[in-house]
């Protein structure tokens, strides 16, 4: 029996625009993954604590408020602090092109911009998670 891929979709920051996060959650579900969705306005600390308790393979962060440069790297560094840096972190939302390189350098494995297909995200997760 192969282990199911488990993904946490989380929205750090203060914006309440969760349509994208929900669309991605459903697409991952339809691809056979188990998705934990924790709702809007989560702190990086809450996201990391949840990821550790749920022992997820991947975290998808969605942010449309413009605070991604602060919040996404914070999630990665907290994971590292807790010894859980094997979790694959990706992000999406309204993110200017010039920010992407910095986010990748900070350990966000991929950024999906508006217009990206859900298939791209699914494919990316399948290829990159470290399943036991």
């Amino acid at each position: 029996m192969s282990k199911k891929i488990k993904v946490l979709i989380a929205k750090p920051g203060l914006d309440g625009h969760d349509r994208g996060a929900k669309v991605v959650s459903r697409a991952l579900r339809d691809a056979g993954m188990e998705v934990i969705y924790t709702g809007i306005r989560q702190t990086p600390e809450q996201i990391v604590a949840t990821a550790i308790q749920e022992d997820v393979d991947s975290i998808g962060l969605s942010c449309l408020s413009g605070a991604h440069n602060k919040l996404f790297p914070k999630v990665v560094s907290l994971l590292k602090e807790k010894g859980a840096d094997d979790v694959l972190v990706f992000g999406g939302g309204i993110i200017p092109d010039e920010d992407i390189a910095g986010l990748k350098q900070a350990g966000i494995a991929a950024i999906f911009l508006p217009g990206a297909s859900t298939e791209e995200t699914i494919e990316f997760i399948r290829k990159n998670v470290k399943t036991a």
């Binding site: 199911k4 991952l28 579900r29 691809a31 998705v35 969705y37 604590a49 949840t50 308790q53 022992d55």
Partner: protein, 311 residues
């Protein structure tokens, strides 16, 4: 594996989380973990929360957690949501209502998908409960999937089962039906500030007058979103636990649980041996084509294991 189990027994979050993954997914090491963990189980209070979708189970669970924390109890939560019958995937959203506890070390919440298991729980829920128990959680709350009528597995596991009801779901005939209505140790009439709540309470009361069980279920009114009635509900839960303890029903319940656990392992073990012999799929096809009866099919499979059927 050694580290994992000792970490778990010491209550370490990551060890518990990793051990749950192994047990939930039937990965290698599961047997060893459970063997080592079993002797340390049996101390937690198991509380089941069940009811129809949208009744407020998760919100109620959230408020019950807060109350238990106020009493100094550590809490484990298993939140079960359904898997898609088409893709096998799932969206597990019960945690949304419980995120205020995300940073509390005394609370560990784990979501589980049913993975097409029927009965309101996920397949390996019982094993995961053992892990929480051995990790020292005082109370383990099992929130079932939103159930309709016949998903009653929770009653075989929990010391106290709370059935969450809301006004407006059906008439009094629904209340008289068998199934979920019969498994309640406690009814929580949630959204009690809404029209129809009093009527529901009265109908439940009328139904309970005819119940012959030794310990009659109690009814509590709650408005989970505002925290109304939670203190009384939690007190009622523990009062029920004490009554069960005093009545001697505990031993009976423990035996029932043990038997169910054994049965599940017997099934798994026999299925594993039968399918490993080969020929299983062919017998399924023959039964499907009506060339064999299911009974003859079983006899053939058992003969393969060297177990002869007595006439």
């Amino acid at each position: 594996m050694e580290d994992l189990v000792s970490g778990l027994l010491a209550g370490k979050v990551r060890s518990l989380a990793k051990a749950i993954t192994i047990v939930e997914n039937d990965l290698p090491g599961k047997r060893e973990i459970l063997q080592r963990v079993y002797p340390r189980t049996g101390n937690a209070y198991l509380l089941g929360i069940t009811g129809p979708p949208g009744a407020g189970k998760s919100t109620l669970t959230d408020k019950v957690i807060a109350h238990l924390r106020g009493r100094g109890k550590t809490v484990g939560v298993i939140a079960v949501d359904p898997s898609s019958p088409f893709s096998g995937g799932a969206i597990l959203g019960d945690r949304i209502r419980m995120q205020q506890h995300a940073l509390d070390d005394g609370v560990f919440i784990r979501s589980m998908a049913t993975r097409s298991h029927l009965g309101g729980l996920a397949k390996n829920t019982v094993d995961v409960i053992h892990l929480f128990d051995a990790a020292g959680k005082d109370v383990i709350i099992i929130e079932t999937v939103g159930v309709g009528q016949d998903e009653v597995d929770i009653v075989r596991i929990a010391q106290t089962t709370v059935v969450v009801m809301v006004p407006g779901l059906g008439d009094s005939v629904q209340i008289s039906k068998a199934g979920v209505m019969e498994i309640a140790d406690i009814f929580a009439v949630n959204k009690a500030d809404r029209d129809g709540a009093e009527k529901l309470v009265n109908e439940l009361r009328a139904m309970l007058e005819m119940v012959k069980s030794e310990i009659k279920p109690e009814i509590f009114r709650t408005v989970a979103t505002d925290g109304v009635g939670i203190e009384e509900l939690v007190a009622g839960i523990f009062a029920h636990g004490r009554r069960v303890e005093e009545s001697g029903l505990v031993a009976k319940k423990r035996c029932l649980q043990a038997e169910n656990e054994l049965k599940a392992y017997i099934y798994d073990m026999i299925m594993e041996r039968i399918t490993s012999l080969g020929g299983y799929d062919e017998i399924v096809r023959q039964v499907a084509a009506k060339k064999l009866t299911p009974m003859t099919g079983v006899e053939k499979l058992f003969a393969g294991l060297g177990i002869a059927q007595e006439e």
